[in-house]
């Protein structure tokens, strides 16, 4: 199967830049899988796991991301994440901190739409907490 070029970046650094076969991303409308020759798409992300399959027969590399975007165009997939933690290094404390930050932001904002969005994120992270 064909490969696609993945660039996975956070504001602090370039995390991952390789040719991969398949990537599963937590889109804000639901998780979806990107294979090579995917049609052009821009999607925002919700907190969740990004699973990178360099080879479909191998175990995926998994990162936890909080926020961000994916951009797929002509076999170039770009993941722009606000923050990313490798799954092995993710602790319950991390998740709790993230919930607290969102909660703080939600308490401070007047904007209803923004508040709803943040509450949605809090719920997603809490669901992950239960899972973990």
């Amino acid at each position: 199967m064909g490969k696609l070029k993945l660039d996975f970046v956070t504001p602090e650094r370039l995390l991952y830049s390789k040719d991969v076969e398949q990537v599963i991303v937590p889109g804000s409308e639901g998780e979806f899988t990107i294979l090579s020759d995917h049609s052009p798409i821009i999607s925002s992300l919700k907190p969740g796991y990004i699973k990178i399959y360099e080879d479909l027969s191998d175990e995926p590399t998994i990162y936890f991301v909080t926020d961000g975007f994916v951009d797929m165009a002509s076999n170039q997939l770009t993941i722009l994440a606000q923050s990313a933690i490798e799954k092995g290094q993710l602790t319950a404390k991390n998740l709790e901190d993230i919930v607290n930050t969102y909660q703080g932001e939600a308490d401070n904002t007047e904007n209803e739409a923004k508040k709803n969005k943040l509450n949605l994120k809090i719920d997603t992270v809490k669901a992950l907490q239960v899972e973990a």
């Binding site: 804000s28 052009p40 798409i41 821009i42 975007f69 951009d71 165009a73």
Partner: protein, 297 residues
């Protein structure tokens, strides 16, 4: 004839100064390494996001419902200038170069009858601008407590700018900072943040024509994505600016302190020479006195 004691004192004090400048140079060199590294590692993200933005811009029909953060609100009466400088001095012309560029723009805008508002980041720029344009400064942010700039610092500043824009406080926003070219060359730079400049220069890495012509699927709606992506882009531009600024500051300080150390060295040489000559002259004079005294007997 200069006093020997006085000369010795001056020599000692210049030596002390040289020790300080040398230490500062070494500290700046160490900090520069770190700052340069983080500026460089942040570049991929900034570049990627500008490619995504460029793709978006070209694939979007020029409809009138484009978000104001991107195309502006159609007015250009009030300008917001965000001037980012250092919190510390002793770094050559770094601060004054940025302020000079900003002041030129301020005066030009005033001449055109525009309203100008200023946000200062960093104490040195604030002190300089305050002298001439105090009433225009609406905010002052100090990053003195911040050891190395994190994304969250830029996020705070970016959100502040967006909130002010949404309240209609200004129409056009520009960021002033110094871009880091090399240790000896830092170029003060103005970057427009709002509205988004259309001819988005992406340093040498043009988006390939294939992808820029692509028609995107948006998930969720285009407007929702835009609503998130635009402030993010702005934050990233601020972040990148701050990192470049931090690296430039250290680079500038390093070369300024290197110069100072060298100048101090020259001065010490001169003073030593003068000291020795004076000492010699005094000895000669004393000898002559003794000899002519003996001859008189």
């Amino acid at each position: 004839m200069p006093n020997l004691k006085e000369l010795k004192n001056r020599q000692v004090s210049v030596k002390a100064t040289q020790k300080i400048t040398r230490a500062m140079q070494m500290v700046a060199a160490a900090k520069l390494n770190k700052a340069q590294e983080s500026a460089q590692s942040a570049r991929p993200y900034a570049r990627k996001i500008s490619i995504v933005m460029a793709n978006l811009l070209s694939s979007m029909d020029s409809s009138s419902n484009a978000p104001e953060l991107m195309v502006g609100n159609g007015k250009s009466d009030t300008y917001l200038l965000v001037v980012a400088t250092a919190d510390r001095g002793l770094c050559g012309a770094f601060n004054s170069n940025i302020v000079k560029l900003a002041t030129l723009e301020i005066n030009e805008l005033i001449k055109q009858g525009k309203q100008v508002k200023i946000i200062c980041i960093g104490k040195k720029g604030y002190d300089l601008i305050r002298r001439s344009h105090e009433e225009k400064i609406i905010d002052f942010i100090s990053l003195k407590e911040v050891k190395s700039i994190a994304y969250s610092d830029a996020e705070g500043i970016g959100n502040n700018i967006v909130a002010r824009f949404e309240q209609g406080e200004f129409d056009i926003c520009k960021l002033y900072y110094s871009s880091f070219k090399s240790v000896i060359s830092q170029i003060p730079h103005a970057q427009q943040l709002i509205p988004l400049p259309i001819d988005n220069e992406i340093d040498g890495d043009e988006p390939d024509t294939n992808s820029s012509l692509a028609i995107y699927d948006y998930e969720p709606e285009e407007s929702d994505v835009m609503e998130d992506l635009l402030p993010l882009n702005l934050n990233i531009q601020v972040f990148q600016g701050l990192l470049e600024n931090a690296a430039s500051e250290q680079g500038s300080r390093m070369s300024a302190m290197d110069n100072a150390t060298r100048n101090a060295g020259e001065m010490i040489n001169k003073l030593t020479l003068q000291y020795n000559r004076t000492r010699q002259a005094i000895i000669t004079k004393e000898l002559i006195e003794i000899i002519s005294g003996a001859e008189a007997l």
